[in-house]
Amino acid sequence: MDSHKGVLVCGEITGGKLAPITIELLGIGRKLADELGEELSALLMGSQAGGLGKEAIAYGADKVHVAEDRLLDGYNSDAYTQVTANLCSKVLPAVVLIGHTDIGCDLAPRLNGRLGGGLAMDCQALSIDSAKLLVSTRPVFGGNANATMVSKSARPQMATLRPKTVPPAERDDSRKGEVIPIEDKIDPSALKVKVVDRIKEEVEGVKLEDAEVVVSGGRGIGSAENFEILRELAGVFGGAVGATRPACDEGWAPMTLQIGQTGKVVSPKLYIAVALSGAIQHIGGCLGSKYIVAINNDEEANIFSVAHFGIVADYKEVVPALTAKLKDLIK
């Protein structure tokens, strides 16, 4: 396996810029490549990719492979897999890093299936061990445990990294590197799945991921109407409302508000968890919050084990009073 060398970051472009996760991957990728004493390269796909090659170099890449093809504007699983797999077969990276995003969650396992590598998904830490193997740390059993994984012989060693788990790379415009266009054309006969439409579901008000205060409700809320009680509290702070998977499954809150392992991961200043038990899968989505407040009538609820403040009572008696008092205090 000695023929496999270097670290390859599969980049993402959003709004004509390198996605934040890509800048984070370039940061950790640079570190891993330095520890291996090998090169860091990046792959950028889409008609805007060429113009961003220099950016990727400024953020740490030695080489940037760019595939400028309109077919790569917007994620197309078949096309992305083809381009990425072809590049990997050519440059033989030892390590491939991908964001744990809408794109990465689809691309990484498929790419792995095609290349026969070793993949760890949704990693929260990456390092190189004394045998120069990639060590990936990821939550398992819904977050009840952490596992470390390695690939002793399978190559490439692959990982998807959860966004915002490492700091972004520092920009240095004096860095030198090489932008290499990918000349291979995409084989259209391999594009089996057609992207018919992309629908954006706008949520009113502040975005969950950007909110400084998130008020979240679970199974105990009881109905869609009762979520209004949470919206009023969130409104005091100019915050956002979230929900647990069971509450979303019941249809009480839109699926786009789901917080947790398979939903959104939020890290606001204040997270107010209302009538939710604190299933480990949910806690994984809010543990990065600075302060967690739990309101639950069951004092045994697991949410109290991660909360800084709690009230043990029926939320219907607590939340309206909390909203009223905060309205007076925050003006």
Binding site: G113, K200, E201, D249, T262, Y291, S305, F309
Partner: protein, 264 residues
Amino acid sequence: MNIIVCVKQVLDPEIPPAKFKIDPEAKQVIPPPGVPPVISLFDERAVEAACRLKDKHGGTITVISLGPEKAAEVVKHAIAMGADEGYILQDAAFENLDSFGIAYVLGKAIQKIGGYDLVLCGRQSADWGNSQVGSILAEILGIPVITLAGDIEAADNKLKVKRIVRDGYEVLEAPMPSLVTVSNEIGLPRLPAGVRIMIAARKQVPVWTAQDIGAESSQLDKANAHTEVTGLSVPTRKTECEIVTGDTPGEAAANLASKLAKLL
């Protein structure tokens, strides 16, 4: 249409964290006594998706599960929901396989069943959550794959799939056969009717071994594993929770409000 659904039996993910114990040496989880294992959440949604397609278009649903004989419980659960046939894939050589090994075994069983229009998997398992068996399986079978489905429709020998993304969804169209991984956005699974539970209870769930499906031992050799778990630990979380009180819940709320106002 003929659908094959892959399901897994897992430790109940809803057990309280206090009951969650591991053996760090063996890198395994110790199942708490008295807590029966369950069908993995997203796999149950995959069965639901299959049942909805069958309700609309007819055809058959075949369920396969790689696991011990006890996994017949989750296959029977799927049959109670509406599946027609089920098989357990069990062999000493199937234990502790990595994602490639699992996908290989499932692929062999699916090839033996044959004649499928659609293969469904959950988006990830509720236990190890490696989140890649479906995609690897599609590569092995040489069929297209769509991940994270929130809705699946079939018409004119094509599949129309709503793929859930962060801020909405994509509408994708795939030929048949394809493989689709299912997310919880598909909706809640049905509760099996009593009659179906009786049918499932009486149903034979054959066990297929490596030999039955023609799995080659070289593909199952742990020495060729693509990934290996080198450590398992339970994270320690130390948070002191201050319980805010008052004579009434309303007063406790007012006291909490004062504290929160100072934090922001």
